[in-house]
Amino acid sequence: MTTKLSTIALSAALIAAAGAASAEDLRIGFADPVSAIDPQLNNHAGDHSVSQHFWSRLVAQKTEGGVVPDIAASWKNLTPNTWEFKLRENAVWSDGKPVTAEDIAFSYERAQAVPGSVASFKGFLRNVAKVEIKDPHTLVITSHAPDPLLPINISSVYIVSKHVGQNAATDDYNSGKAMVTEGPYGFVSYTPGDRIEMKRNERFWGPKPEWEKVNYRYIANPAARTAALLSGDVDVIDKVSFSDIEKLEKNPKVKVWSYPGLRALIMQPSFNPNPSKFLTDKAGKPLDKNPLLDVRVRKALNMAINREAIADRVARGGVTVATQWMPAGSFGYDPDRSKIDVDPNKAKALLTEAGYPNGFKLTMHVPGERYPLAPETAQAIAQFWTRIGVETQVEVVPFSVYSGAANKNEYAMSMIGWGNGTGEGTYAMTAILATANPAKGLGASNWGRYSNPKLDEALAKASAEFDDAKREAIIKDAVKVVMDDVGIMPLYHYKNIWASRPDLKVVPWHSDRTVAMQVSKAK
């Protein structure tokens, strides 16, 4: 009898031991899919979050905007076209070899030609004409054109080692064979679609990383992520579901960490001059002329939207209201355009003035699962617009269908979630506001084909202005131009929300990346 009892006790203890992890370990449940461990294969959100554990960059971006030293301890602008970077003397690879300028040059070469890459990093290096090695710890980068944003751009490209990397393919990184790294954490194992295990890199040049071991688990379903945290399977989760925030905030066993973010949800009206089946009169006949080409109509639609109500009721406090493409406090934010008045009566008057006293019918499109809350937000907007006479229907489309059609400017009104990853205004100006110009790589995500010469001119000026104060003034002017013209309708900025065990502390890292480095034991 006693032996039986002790067997039961022992197995119970074993089960308990299997569940608990050491206090030096951290388990994170994250939402973004990861395509590979190779840091230069794909410029995807999940890949970035993983790479920041293993790899350093020449310079890095932290929290919202601004460039900080990483492998390069310092840098300066020699001429408008050349930059000199001084590397840290104490940075070494996990096999003990020093990190040198050779590695940087090799990395920038490899990043532009990784076989099988579908979202290449070469966009960040487009302006890099040549990388010269002056001595093992000094290098000079020459750009094609004067480029004040060069450090920001290269801050997205991870540095891999030349001595291992030159004979390595993506598979070698995934298997761990080529994982000779220089970041805060080292590679242990990778199970595709499931988890990545890491350990502290004892040779890391920076401050000693907090965690001995990190278990980084992919849990795509938001409800499953919350459950994993509540049941103690993981210590931290990211992208907390908006519907769970309230419940979690009341739970004493959990702490919610919510910070204002850069990612904006923006509507892009179509400037397509041709008749569209998504813009009709009340009887359903396509209109001869696209009413959205009239600035009065765009203004009317914009002022009919009650953003505060959407942030409060639809998003339950998970977002902050957006009146321009960058959030308050960021580089290039214009305080003069900090409010869009909600005025349905004035909106109706503007519609009448524009020749639509009875309004018209509009169908807006929104991707189903890509951007959190986008379908619910679209429903709310449809009601605001219907109230001023623009009868609006919402069509929710899978992103695989949506992206193709939106890209061809087939929709009358589309939505885009824009990450503002560089933390300054010209990024959105280049991709979603500039007149579409494939040869120059401008307006690649300008789905509505908005075009305003004043904006294009401001972008060109800002791109060549090295003086930060002057550049910010140009961007602020561009905000005025676009918002007075209602070229886009920004709705809100997503907050970045993590939840953790109560004895941990989570601080923002860079935008919505989720990394072990942002988690520490609460003191």
Binding site: P115, V118, A224, A228, S400, S403, G404, A431, A444
Partner: protein, 324 residues
């Protein structure tokens, strides 16, 4: 027997060919993978390069012929997203799904058959009525809801079992299996129960109906009259005769469980092939979707073959028919 087998294989090849054509056209109609794969800030030049490299700018028939050509050489292409061979990707994930599906089927049989037998043999008892009503719940409750309920009860409130993911694995024959470790079973239990719920109900109902049908037949009465023990009659005369419909349905169910355990896999963050296929469809990762469906069709064909062979073992009449 050989002729029958050859006929079977020819049928299967035809099915695979037709399926590949339908899926290829369907995937093509959905949209262009380039739009999904590229980073949001990619320029139009990047896009054009990618489209050319993936061969998406070619006419559709040429793309299809290319696919068939390399498939015949055993190459199903590399995943657009993961940049690894599609087949490798699927074979990495399949064991997780297989063990989940088999665990669910085993639960279905060991819970469903005894309960069904009982309900069939004693239809008037209160317990039988409870079983009957319970099986309706099993049919009608949505999987995702039951899954969340299981997690809330056993993981969050009671803290007995982990809420998600797959446990520790052991490498056997070059494949990672988690059902060989205690930790693995702890992770496997909840998703397997969740997945088996519908099947348990199905088995209960099939068994009960079968028993009710067979019970009044002459040979059963005769066996009883002959003085055989009740237990022997149930095991040898009744159970064996109701096995045929059971095996058919379980065979089909096994196939669909392996192929479409998607909901359970996504709620329990189970790294199986169902989740892979869902992600791949969303990303329009064509090689993975194509390869996956080919694997699944082959699996279905194989399961049906096994079911047919089982018929022969179980039912002497089928054996004679075939040899005649």
């Amino acid at each position: 027997m050989l002729g029958w087998l050859l006929q079977r294989v020819a049928q299967a090849l035809l099915v695979i060919f037709a399926m590949s054509l339908v899926v290829f056209l369907g995937l093509h109609a959905v949209g262009n993978p380039a739009d999904l794969l590229l980073a949001p800030d990619a320029t139009q030049i990047d896009r054009a390069e990618l489209v050319a490299r993936l061969g998406l700018d070619r006419p559709l028939w040429e793309q299809y012929l290319n696919f068939v050509g390399s498939a015949l050489r055993g190459d199903l292409g590399r995943s657009f997203v993961y940049n690894v061979p599609a087949v490798t990707l699927i074979l990495q994930r399949l064991p997780a799904t297989l063990e989940l599906a088999f665990a669910a089927m085993i639960f279905a049989v060991i819970i469903g058959v005894p309960l069904g037998l009982y309900a069939g043999l004693y239809p008037e008892r209160l317990l039988s009525k409870l079983i009957q009503t319970g099986s309706i719940l099993g049919f009608s409750l949505p999987t995702f809801w039951v899954g969340l309920l299981l997690i809330m009860t056993f993981s969050v409130s009671l803290g007995w079992l982990p809420a998600s993911g797959r446990g520790e694995t052991v490498r056997v024959f070059g494949v990672e299996w988690s059902f060989l470790t205690l930790n693995g079973w702890r992770h496997l239990l909840l998703p397997a129960i969740n997945l088996s719920l519908f099947k348990v109900s199905l088995v209960i109902r099939l068994t009960r109906a079968g028993v009710r049908e067979v019970l009044p037949l002459d040979y059963v009465r005769f066996a009883r009259a002959k003085g055989l023990r009740r237990g022997r009659v149930v095991m040898m005369h009744i159970l064996r005769n109701i096995m045929i419909p059971l095996v058919t349905v379980l065979g089909l169910e096994l196939g669909s469980t392996i192929a479409f355990a998607v909901v359970t896999e996504s709620i329990f963050a189970w790294p199986g092939s169902g989740k892979l296929i869902l992600d791949s469809i969303n990303a329009l990762d064509r090689p993975v979707v194509m390869a996956y469906l080919l694997v699944v069709v082959t699996l279905f064909v194989f399961i049906n073959l096994v079911v047919d062979i089982l018929y022969r073992v179980l039912d002497p009449r089928v054996r004679e028919e075939a040899s005649a």
